[in-house]
Point group: C2
Chain length 289, copies 2
């Protein structure tokens, strides 16, 4: 029995679909039903449902984008830094293994020396480096709160997408934004992400942090070229001149653009599609929500 | 009518005593009575009690000292960074003025160029500077969460003491610790602190941040000399050789030792006793809890 927290969100819904497809017994817990932000209530639930595993897909992301986190700081700190710590406490109290959806947005750029950031690299887009969005700061703080947690998987997601048009889908965003920022990024195909996350526990890999992104990285222009080639959208895509113009005209807080190293997951035998191929496939199957 | 949150704590009890002495109608709200960490519950309470002012003396300090915060990170983040934001929301929703007990421990050392840190100096002992205790990090984050809050006083306390022997009293700590760290600090005489805090609102000073410490600063050796001179304790006080030895032998996380500039409060006409005199007076009146 898997207990799913945050099952109504973009990532949570994908976990629900995965569990249904795989025939995994799960319980999607709504906060109004059981206030899982309270340690005692969650621990009771885990005991009464005899949960083997907990997936935390709950968190505060800001709508329509991370700029909103700058205006709702207490909610953002609570959802991303306090809640993981409370789930940890409930899981440790009941001896339950669990996984937490974290984010690669605690990094910016490439690893010094080139390539993607590894799981044990210190975040460089966080409160600690005093260069981050408030959102990224709280996600990094959440990982700090989970340091040393027992039987805890920390899964780092980056810019989710799949073939279903949605305001949360990166490909939809690229097609809808008036102007784009050119940058290199790791991405996570959403359905591959949730499958890979769940595999880390199903295969009983050592608990700890995993970068769960599609191997390789893409630039925004490459994504635009794939969109045009697919025929899904043929608009005249506009780009900001540089990050300075982007910040002045479109954003309230800096964005993380970064590469993650995926060798830990790959070496453990959990494969995800190369990122250009994953984007191409999503666009080929593109459909309305 | 003043609503007091955290009234059972060391600072909260001093607020209770002040209100009793001054005949200020107040309601000390216990969490088990009204869960004031929930915005809606607190807003309802403020409306139903027709509160004119809220004092937030609740927070997570760690027992017996800040080292405990390194082990209870989620609770520490919640009490010091999330709760102030929720109180802000409830107070803004109901149009209620309020004051928050913050801490000078978001600074270390002296202001660049000498003297004490002023209210608008950026914290230098915080997550943002990546040099802090977890406790200080969360207190600084709490001030960040309150940026731009309406009708909000942020009162910075430093190392409280008075004449009553107590594990939370700085003078008791100095007398009980096996070894001491020599450092310069601003201090807050507890009863003067709560009086000065309340005066900022009673006199309708502009809302904002106030350093509420006794003017001047003391070194640990000066405090020891005053203790010896008072006759309260004549033990052979031991000192660590330096901060390195202190960190190696006695502490899990670095301590803030800092000077605060008190001219904003003084210029507003709210006086506190010079710090050496305040320490001397407390020792002269020293009594058991």
């Amino acid at each position: 029995m898997v207990v799913l927290l945050g099952g109504s969100g973009y990532v949570g819904q994908a976990f629900q679909q995965l569990f249904r497809e795989q025939g995994v017994p799960f319980r999607n817990v709504a906060r109004k039903e059981v206030d899982y932000t309270e340690v005692a209530a969650l621990a009771d639930l885990l005991a009464s449902t005899k949960a083997d595993f907990v997936v935390n897909a709950a968190g505060y992301t800001g709508k329509p984008n991370v700029d909103a986190c700058e205006l709702h700081k207490a909610a953002c700190v609570f959802g991303n830094a306090v809640l993981p710590g409370r789930i940890r406490e409930a899981c440790e109290r009941t001896g339950t293994a669990w996984g937490h959806v974290s984010s690669g947005c605690i990094y910016t750029g490439e690893r010094p020396g080139g390539g993607g950031f590894r799981e044990d690299d210190a975040p460089n887009f966080s409160f600690r480096t005093n260069h981050c969005s408030f959102y990224s700061g709280t996600k990094a703080l959440g990982e700090e709160v989970l340091t040393g947690a027992a039987d805890c998987y920390v899964w780092r997601l980056r810019i989710p997408f799949n073939e279903i048009d949605s305001p949360r889908n990166y490909l939809t965003k690229v097609m809808r934004y008036a102007s784009l920022l050119e940058a290199s990024n790791s991405l996570s195909q959403l359905d591959e992400f949730v499958r890979a996350c769940f595999e880390t526990w199903r295969q009983r890999l050592p608990a700890g942090t995993y970068n769960v992104t599609n191997p390789g990285h893409v630039t925004t222009r490459e994504v635009v070229d794939l969109i045009k080639k697919s025929g899904v959208c043929d608009k005249d895509f506009q780009f900001f001149k540089d990050e300075e113009e982007f910040m002045a005209k479109a954003a309230k807080t800096p964005r993380s653009n970064c590469l993650l190293d995926t060798s830990k997951l790959q070496n453990a035998g959990i494969a995800m599609t190369e990122v250009h191929e994953a984007v191409e496939t999503a666009l080929r199957k593109w459909r309305a929500e």
